[in-house]
Symmetry: C2
DNA sequence: CGTGTGATTGACGCCTGTCAACGTCTGTGG
DNA sequence: CCACAGACGTTGACAGGCGTCAATCACACG
């Protein structure tokens, strides 16, 4: 494992400034507690943070890089549940429910992750009911998104779902100054979001290209026609 | 709307004794508060408790009957998310996240529902951190189940999913003394759990019958071969 | 007895998964 | 510097699962 302890532990203030970060509801005291208790590690691309089915004894906050969370189906195929980027937290569901991890967390862009032990999380929840409620809100939002995803995947065609996946990636990672999506996935990863075969994803991407919705430069996708994509996605 | 206020409000103790009920973590004081603040109504089969997209200002605890929770897809097709029976609570996700309801709740077997206002819920959460954590655990379990469902629906065939749906119904509602499933759904509702066309659900049920997995007596389904069903479901 | 809802069955065809072959690119080791 | 392996991307052929449409049946209800 290419994981290594960092000498310099990034300050929590760093992440708190990210939009929508959970920890902005902590008091100075709580933040100090958090900074004191947490550890921080560097993970290279490809590393697994935790495996589905394993016991986790804390949760992680992404300080830099990108992590994908996926479940493994009974024939080994990945189903990507969501991505986590700077300011996002992962693994808290398992900590709270006391279950085994229900997905695997794998780094897809070199990452630094802060680790906060379970006890610290429960401490914070007990000390600070506003924080507790905010964390709960976060869980509820995820649940709402999961339910929407269930409906989409059950009712929409692969074509619609792929377009929608592009929109989700756009909302999460945004575009650069040239309208390139700020995350580069393999075709297989794309198909594992949509829940389809790699070949189908490839064919549909080509269709989108022919229809001038996107440009394809290897793994880099350039958005040409946002309205068109939304129309295909039926949102 | 055939809803009417009940003269006799059922005691919370009644539900608390249900297995896994959330409120068993409340103190006597908290339970008294709950009983004092809550209301209770009777709903006939077919009534809607709340609509997707509406604002809810409290949540419901099912005292009797069955409620189905579903989202409506863009072409009007229902996707059933889950069912709620005695002791289950519904609508708390929207209360906590402060969002609009992300699904519709419709009664499918005459029901009595207790209504607890948002403020009471937040009061309880602030007063009792153990209760708060238990509620959070519940949310997390739902989230875990939703993620599993996403993987299944994305990767399994309709045949496998239908078998799995039967198992979920079995786990939720159980069998009577003759091995009949303790809930009777229309074929359309069954297909709306699985995420398929009604006709497909019908054909597959016939197959299951031919394979001696189940017997079909109208809407009443008799389980003959649990192992066989599990095998089909690939669990 | 007409009406309406739900269940069933058949015909048909398309979407999409699977298999296979081949191209492309990158990194590694000789 | 070249050969090679391995991962990833692309394209074509093909079959079959599953959705859609339509007709018919069963049953309840006013």
């Amino acid at each position: 494992m290419d994981m290594k302890q960092l000498d310099k532990i990034p300050a929590c203030y760093d992440c708190v400034n990210e939009s929508n970060n959970l920890f902005r509801h902590l008091t100075q005291d709580d933040l100090s507690l958090l900074s004191y208790e947490k550890g921080c590690n560097f993970y290279k691309k490809g590393n697994v943070v935790y495996h589905e089915g394993s016991r986790v004894n804390g949760f992680y906050c992404v300080n830099a890089g990108i992590v994908k969370l996926y479940k493994t189906g009974y024939e080994g195929r990945e189903q990507i549940i969501r991505f986590a980027k700077k300011g996002d937290i992962i693994g808290f569901r398992s900590v709270l429910s006391g279950d085994f991890a229900c997905h695997t967390a794998r780094v897809i862009e070199d990452a630094t992750l802060c680790f906060i032990p379970s006890e610290t999380l429960f401490d914070l929840i007990r000390r600070n009911s506003e924080f507790s409620i905010e964390l709960h809100k976060l869980t509820c939002r995820e649940l709402g998104e999961a339910n929407s995803f269930i409906t989409d995947i059950a009712q929409k065609t692969v074509r619609e779902r792929l377009a929608e996946a592009l929109l989700i990636l756009y909302n999460t990672f945004g575009l650069d100054h040239e309208n390139f999506l700020q995350i580069n996935l393999t075709r297989e990863e794309l198909s594992n979001i949509v829940g389809t075969a790699t070949e189908s994803a490839i064919r549909l991407l080509s269709e989108f290209k022919d229809e001038k919705l996107i440009e394809i430069h290897g793994r880099r996708l350039k958005f040409l026609d946002m309205k068109g994509i939304k129309k295909v996605a039926n949102v």
